[in-house]
């Protein structure tokens, strides 16, 4: 059975007592619990698992973890979730996976024809062609051919996403040997530790190597250590958790792919750590030679993982090829697994570190692999002596390659630490830290276990500012040879072989492509990357990027450090979007504000709108059988003729107290408040320092040095900021305090000719006569059972009483009003009818006339701009503007010639109605119930001097004419307000 041919009879970290069935590309296979999809397929003798992105060449499994550049799968069914590297999928019952980007299967892929036109489609070919007739002609087919996996459509999964914040003394990234010993050191020193590791279990490289620690198998040491850590309260240990971003101020982001908590699908952490230890290990890079992408060519360290951790046998006849000493440990393990190791190709010259127990294996020194043979599977290699050029062919079905080790400096680089090139190690290593972090172990380019552990302990002590007396004891380790390497960025080949030598396997980028880019003048490393797309795939070039840099350096004849690296960007591995947001959805993400009356409104059928500052407010209250216009007309009429009520609770309210209160108010508003008497209010206009209208509202004087300011609903927060900013940063010496009382007071506003009668019906101890309680006054007393402050302010132009009560009383007040108001046919009204009424009065509305660009002079508000105050916020800016006298738009009223056609807001006014730059626009247009016709307000260039002129408004399909009038259509003298 194939299962036995490719699986060792014992060993590995898999659980042979649990057999699992799974499907891959339509075929059912068996594996064991603990197998990844990759290892299970290898153990089933499956070697052709993918087709490459551009050329659709046959591909196999190359790596064993997140560095996998070759085989991507997508899961089918409930688990669908886009592209997954085949090495990062754990098999489980019911798993159904298929290779991406090939159809019908990797074995027989119709797009494989691309290989035969490969000469026509080198890197960046698309910039040179596909121009005629235009890109659109080709785009749809190109888009369909690209894109790899399908986008997931459903979100069926058990549970939800969760997010958390956490603070730790020390965050250790990676639980390999360095991370584990560092965690032990930190934890025993009493620090609060988080240890996060990407793997299924802690252990890192120790999971894939046969080394002895304290005389035991490494895995035993790992399990003992994790058990000790788990027993400590001050340690949080995460597995299947990737630390994928390092932001400013030591904020790191971690996502757990598979938390133990039931119903939590994935969990993300934002961690603020005092210190960070980066123990992310190192990633092996590949070697570049012809047909180095054939199924059967695998990273040497991946082979080591498959034979040791998964007890699989990735081939029958193996050769190893490397430029460094780490290959020999792989050789040993490969041989012990029962795979025939035919030869080792060591490209280094003058090296003599072949271990004694491997003396019987044929080693070709000073040789390189020139090319692989075989298409759907490796069957032989041709090797070449680098001095004599003598060639030999060797039959094999497995080639393990190692181009050297790169410390995983991504997070370190994200922290803004600089990396530097080390010629001895032929790689980039971490330089100076910029934030409170250090790299430890292989991540800091230390490659022997002994030194890794020493380094980890020392740096942990440094991070925690402890001395040597606190150092924990290191375990006993076996002697190990030092790592040694001779750079081999690519094998020296003719151009024809270069075009088959893959430097970025995932994006099908060949060595020829790099040379082509440079030939065309793209020789900065970022240019090469963008021109060829090397390093831009899902694997982000983890196994290939350094070879690109090396290839550029070789061609230019300089050292890799002069080339530099491309920018390391987050995330370190792809992260599901859902995992970032947790439960922040809907109203948790976009909280809305509501009043005590909101539910009453909903119960009475109000159409709720989203108003400024995320308040939910009733737009109108439709009755059955009514059209929208009929409802609005009815509500408007009831305000003009009878009695209405609306909920004004959301309006901003601020209490301003102190000896300098008046000074502040006079500085904030354009008009004068000196003469305001106690118990009276005044409408004020507020500008920003640029002179633009910012807000408006009525401010009341309660007592000497004691005022209540009201603002618009939408700008309450902004006004609060504006006032506090002014006081605290510019006038800290002024004695005045502002208290936000927006939500402490609610109000119900009665409006209409019957408002006073209604107040009397409610019962109040306030003298309601016009003499005792004039327009713009505020009186305190009882209304019904409620303590209240009643204000005579009006946005509708009718007699109004705004009854302010404590918020907790507002619903009861409202219900009382509705009851007492029944004989008056009281009606609740919403913002739509309010809008109609204020247009009839020509009152300013923020968002319509004042849109963040208009000044008060634009709106003809000269009457409210104090001429006696020498200074207030925004005054000088407008003076400067007016001095140059640019023509400005001004507020006017419009009477359209057709009295029945409603014109939409924003319709532009242009000279003669022609299609050219506008001279104004309609800011509001409503059906006036008072005049039984359409009326509008507009901003018009020099409007105030164009009364009675006919102007032209462009609507979508036709032009409309209207007459310019004063911007007030009802009760211009305000007599009704004052009644």
């Amino acid at each position: 059975m194939s299962k036995d041919l490719f699986r060792q009879p014992q060993g590995g970290l898999i659980d042979r007592s649990q057999t699992i069935s799974f499907q891959f590309n339509g075929t059912t296979y068996q594996g064991y619990s603990g197998d990844s999809l990759a290892s299970a397929l290898i153990a089933n003798g499956v070697f052709l698992t993918a087709r490459s992105f551009k050329y659709h060449r046959p591909r196999g499994i190359v790596g064993s973890g997140y560095e996998e550049p070759s085989s991507l799968v997508e899961l089918i069914g409930d688990e669908e979730s886009g592209n997954q590297p085949i090495t990062r999928v754990q098999i489980r019952p019911g798993l159904n996976a298929r290779s991406v980007n090939c159809w019908p299967s990797p074995n027989f892929d119709l797009m494989a024809v691309n290989q035969y036109v490969s000469k026509l489609i080198p890197a960046a070919f698309y910039y040179k062609t596909f121009k005629w007739p235009n890109w659109h002609f080709f785009e749809p087919s190109i888009r369909r051919a690209a894109g790899l996996a399908s986008a997931p459509k459903n979100i069926h999964h058990q549970g939800h996403y969760e997010t958390r914040y956490a603070h730790y003394d020390i965050l250790i990234v990676g639980a390999g040997p360095a991370g584990l010993i560092a965690a032990l050191q930190a934890a025993r020193s009493g620090a609060r530790v988080m240890l996060a590791d990407d793997g299924l279990e802690s252990g890192g490289s120790l999971l894939s190597q046969h080394v002895k620690i304290d005389g035991k198998e490494a895995i035993d040491w790992v399990r003992e250590t994790t058990a000790s850590l788990d027993a400590m309260d001050n340690v949080t240990r995460l597995t299947e958790a990737t630390v994928w971003a390092y932001r400013e101020h030591n904020l790191l982001v971690i996502t757990e792919r598979s938390p133990a908590t039931q119903n939590v699908f994935q969990r993300s952490w934002r961690v603020r750590a005092k210190q960070v230890l980066i123990a992310t290990g190192a990633i092996e890079r590949n070697l570049v030679f012809a047909n180095n992408d054939r199924p059967g060519v695998m990273m040497a360290s991946a082979i080591q993982s498959y034979v040791n951790r998964y007890a699989a046998k990735p081939g029958k006849r193996a050769v190893l090829f490397a430029n460094n000493s780490s290959i020999y440990a792989v050789a040993r393990d490969l041989r012990a697994s029962g795979v025939e190791l035919v030869a080792i190709i060591d490209s280094r010259s003058n090296v003599n570190d072949l271990p004694e127990d491997l003396q019987d294996i044929q080693v070709f020194r000073n040789y390189v692999v020139e090319q692989c043979h075989g298409t759907k599977r490796l069957r032989a290699i041709t090797i070449k002596n680098t001095e004599t050029a003598e060639k030999t062919k060797i039959d094999c079905d497995l080639l393990g390659i190692s181009g050297g080790w790169n410390p995983t400096v991504h997070l370190f680089s994200q922290s803004r630490g600089k990396v530097k090139y080390d010629a001895n190690l032929a790689t980039f290593i971490p330089g100076e830290s910029v934030q409170a972090c250090q790299c430890i172990g292989s991540a800091s380019a230390i490659f022997t276990l002994q030194k890794v552990m020493q380094d980890a302990v020392q740096k942990t002590l440094q991070a925690l500012d402890l001395d040597q007396s606190n150092a924990i004891l290191l375990p006993q380790l076996e002697p190990e040879a030092e790592y040694s390497i001779q750079a081999l960025w690519h094998v020296d080949l003719n151009e024809s072989l270069c075009s088959k030598s893959f430097i970025d396997i995932q994006n099908d980028v060949t060595l020829s492509d790099v040379h082509l880019a440079m030939r065309e003048g793209f020789d900065a490393v970022e240019h090469v990357k963008r021109y060829t797309t090397a390093g831009m795939g899902i694997d982000q070039g983890k196994t290939g990027n350094l070879n690109v840099i090396g290839a550029i350096a070789l061609k230019k004849g300089c050292a890799p450090d002069e080339i530099g690296t491309t920018t390391f960007r987050s995330p370190f591995v792809p992260i599901e979007f859902g995992a970032l947001t947790g439960t922040r959805e809907g109203s948790v993400y976009l909280p809305y504000r509501h009043t005590s009356i909101t539910q009453w409104n909903k119960d009475h059928g109000a159409e709720m709108y989203e108003a400024g500052a995320r308040w939910r407010r009733p737009g109108y209250y439709p009755r059955s059988g009514e059209s929208f216009q009929e409802t609005v007309n009815r509500e408007s009429r009831v305000v003009r003729e009878g009695l209405a009520v609306y909920d004004g609770a959301p309006l901003g309210k601020f209490e301003i107290k102190g000896p300098d209160a008046l000074k502040l108010i006079d500085m904030l508003y354009t008009n004068n408040f000196d003469s305001l008497k106690i118990g009276m209010g005044r409408y004020g206009l507020m500008l920003n320092e640029d002179g633009i209208i910012f807000d408006d509202g009525v401010t009341f004087k309660l007592a000497e040095n004691h005022y209540i300011m009201s603002t618009s609903t939408g700008n309450a927060d902004a006004v609060n900021q504006h006032m506090e900013f002014f006081l605290q940063t510019h006038r800290p010496d002024w004695q005045v305090k502002i208290t936000t009382i927006t939500t402490q007071w609610a109000n119900a506003t009665l409006c209409g000719p019957k408002a006073r009668e209604m107040m009397q019906a409610l019962g109040t101890d306030i003298d309601l006569s016009n003499e005792a309680f004039p327009f713009m006054a505020m009186r305190e007393g009882k209304v019904g059972d409620f303590k209240a402050r009643v204000c005579r302010v009006s946005f509708t132009g009718e007699l109004s009483f705004e009854i302010n009560v404590r918020s907790r009383d507002s619903l009861a007040l409202w219900e009382t009003i509705m009851e007492v108001g029944m004989p008056f046919n009281i009606s609740p009204v919403g913002s739509e009818s309010n809008h109609v009424l204020r247009v009839e009065k020509g009152f300013l509305s923020l968002g319509h006339e004042a849109d963040g660009t208009t000044t008060p002079f634009d709106l003809g508000l000269n009457w409210i701009m104090s001429k006696t105050k020498t200074d207030y916020i925004g005054k000088k800016a407008n003076e400067i503007r007016l001095a140059e006298n640019p023509s400005r738009w001004q507020l006017v009223g419009l009477l359209p010639d057709d009295p029945n056609e409603l014109i939409d807001e924003s319709a532009p006014i242009t000279p003669g109605g022609r299609r050219e730059a506008s001279e104004g626009f309609v800011t509001a247009c409503v059906w006036s119930v008072v005049h039984n016709r359409v009326i509008a307000l507009a901003l018009l260039e020099n409007g105030q001097s164009r009364m009675d002129e006919t102007i032209y408004i462009r609507r979508k399909d036709h032009v409309v004419t209207a007459k310019v009038t004063a911007p007030c259509f009802y009760d211009a003298k305000g007599q009704l307000l004052r009644s």
Binding site: K128, H136, A524, I538, R569, R881
Partner: protein, 417 residues
């Protein structure tokens, strides 16, 4: 200039692509030029091209401190559109879109220019009102923008399954801007560079301008100090986006500009699912899908001045939350890469294309959303430099507007940049 076509591609394939020539030269830096352009980004390279092509001015050096096209042109969300608010702005962007449409042919380089419409997803009435203003103003200047109802919107964007009547912010309507497009950003830089170089313009990479130099007699500009020595010119243009004030500070010139960070991100590549540019102004996110299959997504800018080119986690998460509100199935899609860039913004959020109080010194800055403006920005700046008078399209963008506090306030600019 070596022509690019299917024929030259085929011909070169036969020789193993050994005969492609350099897209641009690396000439030695001279002591003097007629014009120095600081910054080989999209705008800088376009300006150089149009100086040569439209005005016959070829003794031009473009000085770039890093690698050509390595600034914001290398990292943006490639949205090209002209649906702005103000009469002063719209014609400029309409021109830019028009230039873009003909650029592949003009520069003999496939920009992969893909006209595909932008659709605003409107969720509140105030925003609908604001967008209607854009719609009407756009109509006056031949920049079409039309309303569509919710069912048509969903038909065109089938993956937009959120925003229903029971959701937190139900969709009210959509607004379609048909002339919106995307294209390959690197190709824009490389094609302008190649074409400008072909006409004699010199592009000098790894050449950093350390300061501006002024004549001691009349204070006019007379050159720049670089890390490769002094270079003289009577006309110097600063076209460096976020770093504008760093350069103008060297002569104490005050400009109303602040630099800030704007970030974006892409998803893993998936098969085609979105063929328009989607903008959601009420919740602050916009996205499109590249030809490679990656979703390209952007959100709001960071608070605070910054040159760090990074990602603020909370700003990023908000953009993702917003996206998932309307596209809930994207929860299972994966983030692949993210990046930040430095932009500058003028006090009134409208760009600056202008002469300055220093004779011979020109500035093109305040482009937040400058990718769509590259062709017209270059075209008009070249005009200004060549003739010392503003092109009519950028006359409103002059610095003089600040002397009257006559701001061009693009109120509530959409999130899409």
């Amino acid at each position: 200039m070596q022509p690019y076509s299917i024929f030259s591609l085929a011909r070169n394939a036969l020789s193993g692509h050994q005969n492609w020539s350099k897209a641009w030269r690396s000439p030695p830096l001279k002591k003097r030029y007629d014009v120095i352009i600081i910054g080989a980004g999209g705008h800088g390279l376009a300006t150089a091209y149009y100086l040569a092509k439209n005005h016959g001015i070829t003794n031009v050096a473009v000085l770039e401190k890093g690698w050509l096209g390595g600034g914001n042109i290398a990292r943006n969300t490639v949205t090209i559109r002209s649906n702005y608010m103000r009469d002063e702005s719209i014609p400029f962007y309409v021109k830019s879109v028009k230039l873009y449409e003909g650029l592949t042919k003009e520069l003999n380089y496939n920009l992969m220019y893909s006209k595909r419409s932008m659709i605003d997803v409107v969720q509140t009435y105030p925003k609908l009102r604001e967008i209607k203003r854009r719609m009407y103003n756009g109509d006056l200047h031949n920049s079409a923008y039309e309303r569509i109802e919710v069912d048509e919107l969903r038909r065109r964007i089938p993956y937009l399954t959120g925003g229903g009547p029971e959701s937190r912010l139900p969709i009210l309507a959509g607004m379609v801007h048909p002339s919106a497009a995307v294209c390959r950003h690197d190709a824009v830089a490389w094609s302008y560079a190649r074409a400008a170089d072909d006409r004699g313009v010199e592009i000098h990479q790894n050449t950093e301008v350390l300061k501006l130099l002024r004549n001691s007699t009349d204070g006019s500009i007379n050159g720049v100090e670089t890390n490769h020595g002094t270079v003289y010119a009577d006309k110097v243009a600063v076209v460096v986006s976020g770093h504008t004030t760093s350069i103008t500070d060297t002569i104490g010139l005050k400009l109303p500009l602040k630099s800030f960070n704007l970030s974006a991100f892409v998803s893993e590549p998936v098969k085609p699912i979105i063929d328009v540019v989607v903008n959601c102004p009420d919740i602050g996110v916009y996205l499109s899908q590249s030809d490679k299959g990656e979703l390209v997504i952007g959100g709001a800018p960071d608070a605070g001045q910054s040159f760090r080119r990074d990602i603020k986690q909370h700003v990023f998460e908000d953009a993702v939350c917003s996206m998932l509100e309307l596209f809930p199935s994207f929860k299972r899609l994966k983030l692949l890469r993210q990046w930040g860039g430095t932009l500058d913004i003028a006090h009134d959020a409208t760009p600056i294309v202008s002469q300055t109080d220093v004779q011979g010194l020109y500035v093109s800055a305040g482009w937040w959303g400058g990718f769509k403006a590259v062709p017209a920005g270059g075209y008009t700046l070249a005009h200004l430099i060549a003739k010392n008078e503003q092109h009519e399209l950028t006359a409103p963008f002059s610095l003089n507007r600040f002397k009257r506090l006559d701001f061009i306030l693009e109120a509530g600019t959409t999130t899409a940049t």
